[in-house]
C-alpha cells in the first residue's frame, strides 16, 4: 500500500477506491476471523444455561442470521459505497456533532470486547503455565494480568501498519480457530459421549420453555449486533456492496453461530465452565493437546483484538483534535490504554459480566441499526453527501440544529426504552411480550418507526438534514442550497478554513 493510501485508511476520512483493496476472499477471511473469536465459546456457554443442545443450536443459528440482517441494512450498503466507518455512517442520522455519541458507544464497547479477549488470552496462557507446572495455582491472577498486558503490547505492535496486518493475518487465524473448535467438539463427543451431550439439561433454565427459547435466540441476535462498529470498519475496505454481500453475511453470522454452538455443548458438558474452554481443555484433552489448544486460543484472540482496536482507533480519529495532533501509533495506544487499565484493575469483574456486556450491545445497537436503515433506504434513497460526511458547519447538510439531529436522539431513546422495558440486561428479567417478540427486534422496529414519523413531520419540513438533495436526486445540489434562512451562511473561503472536520 502506498504511503498516501496508508494515510487514508489511518484517517477517518472516506476511503478512496485505491485504498479499498479487499476482495471477497480477504473480506470473508477478516469477517470470519472477527466473528469466531473465543468469546463465542462464552456466548454458547450462556445459552447452555437456558437451552439443551438441539433447541439451542437452532435458536443460535437463527439468532445470528437475524442479527446480521440488522447490521447489513444499517452498515454495509453505505460503508461499501462511500468508504465510511461506523461513526462516519451515522452523521446523516445524528448530526455531525451528535455522531460523537456513537463514538463514545463504540469506544466503550470495543474496550469491553478487547478487554474480554485479552483476559481470555491471559487465562489461556496462565492455564498453560500452571498445567505444565511452571507456576503454581496461586500465580493464576498475576499471570492473567501479565499475559493480558503482553497481548495489549502485541496488538499495538501489529497494528503499526494499519489494516493490512488484519487482512494478511485474519484468514490464518480464522482457520486456526475453526480447527480448534472442531477439535474441542471432537474431544467432547469422544470423552463425554454424543448421547450425553444431546440429552444434557440446561443448568439455569426458567419454567417457561418459550422464555428459554427466546432468550437463547436473543443472545445470538445481540452477539451479531455487536458487530455494528466492526462491520463498517471492515467492509469499507471493499469496493462495492456486491463484493461484501455474501462474505459479510456468511462470514459474520455462521462462524459466530457454529463456534457458539461448540460453547453450548461445552457448557452443557461442563456447567461450571460457562463454555470457557480454558477451564476444561487440559482436563478434557490431556496436557499436550490442551496446551496446543490453549495456544490456538491465545493466537486467535490477538487477531480479533486487532480488528477491535483498529475500529476504535479510526473512531477516535473522527475527533478533529485527535486527527490534527495525534499520529496513528499514538491513536492506537490511546485506544489500548483503557483496555490495559481494565486488565490491570478489573479483569475478574469484566470477565464475570460478559452477559451484561452482551445485552447492552442489543440495547445500544438495535435502535441504531433501525434508524440508519430507514434513513438510508427510505429518506436518502441510498445517496449521501460525501463532503457533508467530512466537513462540519452550518452550511453542511448533516449539521441539522447546531450539529445535532434531535429526532435521531429521540428515536434512539425510544429504541433503548423499548429494549429495557422488554428485557433488563443486568439481571435478565423480562416483561411480556418479550417471550414472543424478543427485545432487539422490537427495539429496531420502534427506533425505525419513530425516526420515520418525526423526520417526515419535523426535519424535512424544517429543511434540515440535506433531505432535499437526496430526494431530488440532484447530486450536484450542494448543502448550501438546503440551509434554512435562519442559519448564518459563512463566506465560502472562511467556511472552508473553519469547517474542516
Amino acid at each position: 500500500m502506498s504511503a498516501q493510501a496508508q494515510s487514508g485508511v489511518e484517517h477517518s476520512w472516506p476511503a478512496i477506491p485505491a485504498e479499498r483493496t479487499w476482495g471477497r476472499l480477504a473480506l470473508f477471511g477478516v469477517s470470519v476471523s472477527t466473528a469466531i473469536a473465543t468469546w463465542c465459546f462464552v456466548i454458547g456457554g450462556y445459552v447452555s444455561y437456558y437451552l439443551p443442545a438441539g433447541m439451542g443450536t437452532l435458536a443460535m443459528v437463527a439468532g445470528g442470521l437475524v442479527g446480521i440482517l440488522m447490521i447489513f441494512l444499517a452498515a454495509i450498503p453505505v460503508a461499501t459505497k462511500y468508504g465510511v466507518d461506523a461513526i462516519g455512517s451515522i452523521k446523516p442520522q445524528l448530526g455531525e456533532r451528535g455522531s460523537y455519541l456513537t463514538l463514545i458507544l463504540v469506544y466503550f464497547t470495543t474496550i469491553g470486547w478487547n478487554t474480554v479477549l485479552l483476559i481470555f488470552l491471559g487465562r489461556a496462557a496462565a492455564e498453560i503455565l500452571i498445567a505444565t507446572g511452571v507456576f503454581g495455582e496461586g500465580a493464576r491472577d498475576a499471570l492473567i494480568v501479565a499475559f493480558g498486558l503482553a497481548g495489549v503490547a502485541i496488538v499495538w505492535f501489529l497494528l503499526r501498519k494499519g489494516p493490512d496486518t488484519m487482512r494478511n493475518v485474519g484468514p490464518l487465524i480464522a482457520v486456526s480457530v475453526l480447527i480448534l473448535g472442531v477439535w474441542i467438539f471432537y474431544l467432547l463427543v469422544k470423552d463425554v459421549g454424543w448421547s450425553k451431550l444431546i440429552h444434557a439439561q440446561p443448568s439455569a433454565a426458567s419454567d417457561s420453555k418459550l422464555w428459554n427459547y427466546t432468550t437463547g435466540f436473543e443472545l445470538l441476535v445481540v452477539s451479531a449486533l455487536s458487530w455494528w462498529p466492526y462491520t463498517a470498519g471492515m467492509v469499507r475496505n471493499a469496493r462495492s456492496p456486491r463484493t461484501a454481500f455474501w462474505p459479510a453475511i456468511i462470514g459474520l453470522s455462521l462462524p459466530l453461530s457454529i463456534v457458539s454452538v461448540i460453547g453450548l455443548f461445552s457448557g452443557l458438558a461442563f456447567p461450571d465452565s460457562g463454555g470457557d474452554p480454558t477451564v476444561f481443555l487440559v482436563k478434557l484433552g490431556g496436557l499436550g493437546t490442551g496446551v496446543i489448544a490453549l495456544l490456538f486460543i491465545a493466537l486467535a484472540n490477538i487477531g480479533t483484538a486487532m480488528v477491535g482496536v483498529y475500529v476504535a482507533s479510526i473512531g477516535l480519529r473522527q475527533i478533529p483534535a485527535v486527527q490534527r495532533t495525534m499520529g496513528w501509533h499514538a491513536t492506537v495506544a490511546v485506544a489500548l490504554l483503557p483496555v490495559a487499565a481494565a486488565i490491570l484493575f478489573a479483569s475478574g469483574y469484566v470477565f464475570d459480566n460478559i452477559g451484561t456486556l452482551l445485552a447492552f450491545m442489543g440495547v445500544l445497537f438495535a435502535p441504531i441499526c433501525g434508524m440508519q436503515a430507514v434513513d438510508y433506504f427510505v429518506f436518502r434513497r441510498q445517496r449521501l453527501d460525501v463532503a457533508g460526511l467530512v466537513h462540519h458547519g452550518p452550511s453542511q447538510p448533516y449539521h441539522f440544529w447546531h450539529g445535532f439531529n434531535p429526532v435521531g436522539f429521540v428515536a434512539l431513546g425510544v429504541g433503548f426504552a423499548t429494549y429495557l422495558y422488554l428485557l433488563d440486561p443486568v439481571n435478565y428479567t423480562s416483561r411480556s411480550p418479550y417471550q414472543y417478540v424478543s427485545a432487539s427486534i422490537p427495539s429496531f422496529v420502534a427506533s425505525a418507526l419513530v425516526y420515520w414519523v418525526l423526520t417526515r413531520l419535523v426535519v424535512i419540513p424544517a429543511g434540515r438534514g440535506g433531505y432535499a438533495a437526496s430526494r431530488s436526486g440532484d447530486r450536484g445540489l450542494r448543502a448550501q442550497d438546503t440551509v434554512p434562512a435562519s442559519e448564518p451562511r459563512p463566506e465560502p473561503a472562511l467556511a472552508r478554513a473553519t469547517e474542516r472536520g
Binding site: 478512496i16 485505491a18 443450536t57 435458536a59 440482517l69
Partner: protein, 55 residues
Amino acid sequence: MGQTHVGVEHELDRRIELVERAARDVEPLGAAAYVQLVLVTIAVPALMLIVGWNL
C-alpha cells in the same frame, strides 16, 4: 504529520472528489440480492425456530 493545513485541505478535497466519483459508479444491490437477503436472514431462521420448537 508533516502535512501543512493547505496540504491536508487539498488531500481532503481530492479524496471527496474521488469518493463521489466512485460512488456514482457503484451499482446498488438489485432486487434479487434483497430477496436472497430476506430468504437467508428471515425465512431460514423462521424455519429453524419452528423446527427447534418442535424438537
